[in-house]
Symmetry: C2
Subunit: 246 residues, 2 copies
C-alpha cells in the first residue's frame, strides 16, 4: 500500500465544491475518484486538505489517497490529466509517508481573494474575481485588517454552531492587501480556516473600505464573538486556495 | 445623428466570433445589436475594427454605431453593461466625429498570444492560453521573429485568395516574445492583419522553437509567398485583440 500526495489546480466555477455528494452533482473529489476507479477498478477515497465551496478555485489544493500500485508518480500524473475534465489539473503527484494525511497533517493554508474595483465588470476576469463597484479606501482596509492578525476567536466571522464556540480560535499569520490598477487582492495565511471565514473577513473589510461600517469595526466585531455583528460573505468566485503547508 | 465609439472586452470562448451570422449562432456583434434594438426599438448596425474568429478574445476591440439619441455616453455604457451577457463588457463609450469608422479609420492594431509551455495543462488558464507541452527554445524564436518585423508580403502566413496576392503586404511594427515562468507571450503590432495571420505566425514560431522547422525558416517561408510552406495556425483561445489605434 502506497500513499500518494496530489497537488491540484481547479476552476471551481462549474463544481458544487470539493466534496463528493450523494446527489449527482459535479464535485472535484468525485471527478478524481472517478479517474481512480477507472485506473484501479475499485473505489479509492481521495481526501483533501479541506473542502472548498461551490465556485471556489484552487491553485494549490492538496489531497491524498492510498493504493496498491507500482505506477510511477509521473505516469500517474499523466493518467490523471488525460482522464480528468479540463477544469481540474493535477500539478504534482508525490509519494508520501504512510502517515501523511492531507487534512490532519496540514499546518498552514493560504487563500487569496481578488476584487475588481471599478464601475463596470470584466468579461475576461469574471470567473475569478468579485466585482465591487463602490469606491474603496484601501489604506483604511489595510489598517483594519491588522486586527485579524494573530491568535483570535473568529466566532463573528464563521458560521459555526454557537455551542462549539471555543473551537473558533485560529491564528492568522498574515493578511495582506494590495492594489494594482483596478484589482484589489487579499492574501491570508492561517493555521486553519473556519467555514466561510475568509469570505466573511473579506466581505467585512469591503464594507469598512466602502464606508458602510465605521473605522474600528474589525476590533469591535472580533470581540463581540457573534456572527450577527459582522458583514456578509463575499462571493465565492473571488476566492482561491493558493497552497497548503505540511 | 451621433456617432458612438465603443471600446470592448470579451471572452471569445462561447462566441462564434465577432460577426453577425444568418444562422442562430451567438456572436459579439449580434449581442451588441440586440441591446441597441432594445434601447432604440430599431436595428442599429455595429461595425467593429475587424472580425475576430470563434474563440478569440478582446481586451480592447473598438466598434462604432450611429444613432439619433440624446443619451449621455456614461448612461449608454451602463445600459450596455446592464443588458449584455457576462462575457462582453463595454469598457468605454465616447462620442466620435461623424466621419469616424471603426474599421476604415484604424491605423494600428495590437494582438497578444499566450502559450502555456509545460508538461501539463492549466485548469484556471485554459480558456485564455494555448497549451504547448513540447520544450521551446525561446531565444531562437526571438531571433527568428525579427524576420517578420517591417513591411513584408505575408502571403505565406495568410489564408488569402492567390489571385489577390498583392494585397498581402503589411507592416509589422513590433513582435515581442517574453517568457515568465511557464507562460510565453507574443505581442504583435501591425498596420493591419490578414485572416489568421497572427495565429499562423505564432504557430510557425512554435514549430521553429520546438525544433520541427530549422533555424532560418521564417525568412525562407516569407520569401516563398506560398501559404503551404509555413506552419499551421495556433489555436484561437490563445489570441487576444489588445487595442486598436486611430
Amino acid at each position: 500500500m502506497r500513499t500518494f500526495k496530489l497537488t491540484l489546480e481547479y476552476d471551481g466555477t462549474d463544481f458544487s465544491g470539493w466534496q463528493l455528494q450523494s446527489n449527482a452533482k459535479r464535485t472535484v473529489q468525485g471527478e478524481l475518484e472517478a479517474v481512480l476507479f477507472r485506473l484501479f477498478k475499485k473505489r479509492v477515497v481521495v481526501i483533501g486538505s479541506g473542502r472548498t465551496d461551490s465556485g471556489v478555485h484552487a491553485r494549490g489544493q492538496v489531497a491524498h489517497f492510498r493504493a496498491v500500485s507500482d505506477m510511477p508518480c509521473d505516469e500517474l500524473q499523466r493518467a490523471f490529466n488525460f482522464n480528468l475534465p479540463v477544469d481540474i489539473t493535477v500539478l504534482k503527484v508525490e509519494e508520501a509517508d504512510s502517515k501523511f494525511h492531507a487534512q490532519l497533517s496540514a499546518r498552514r493554508k493560504t487563500y487569496s481573494y481578488t476584487v475588481l474595483n471599478r464601475a463596470y465588470p470584466s468579461a475576461l476576469l469574471r470567473r475569478q474575481c468579485c466585482f465591487f463597484p463602490r469606491k474603496l479606501n484601501v489604506a483604511l482596509m489595510k489598517k483594519e485588517a491588522a486586527a485579524f492578525v494573530g491568535c483570535r476567536d473568529f466566532s463573528s466571522f464563521a458560521n459555526v454552531d454557537p455551542s462549539r464556540r471555543g473551537d473558533a480560535v485560529r491564528t492568522i499569520y498574515s493578511l495582506q492587501i494590495s492594489k494594482r490598477a483596478d484589482l484589489v487582492r487579499f492574501v491570508i495565511e492561517s493555521d486553519g480556516f473556519l467555514y466561510k471565514m475568509v469570505r466573511n473577513i473579506v466581505g467585512t473589510l469591503l464594507e469598512i473600505g466602502s464606508g458602510r461600517f465605521p473605522p474600528g469595526s474589525a476590533v469591535r466585531m472580533l470581540s463581540a464573538r457573534d456572527r450577527r455583528v459582522a458583514g456578509i460573505a463575499a462571493v465565492s468566485r473571488g476566492l482561491c486556495l493558493e497552497n497548503v503547508k505540511y
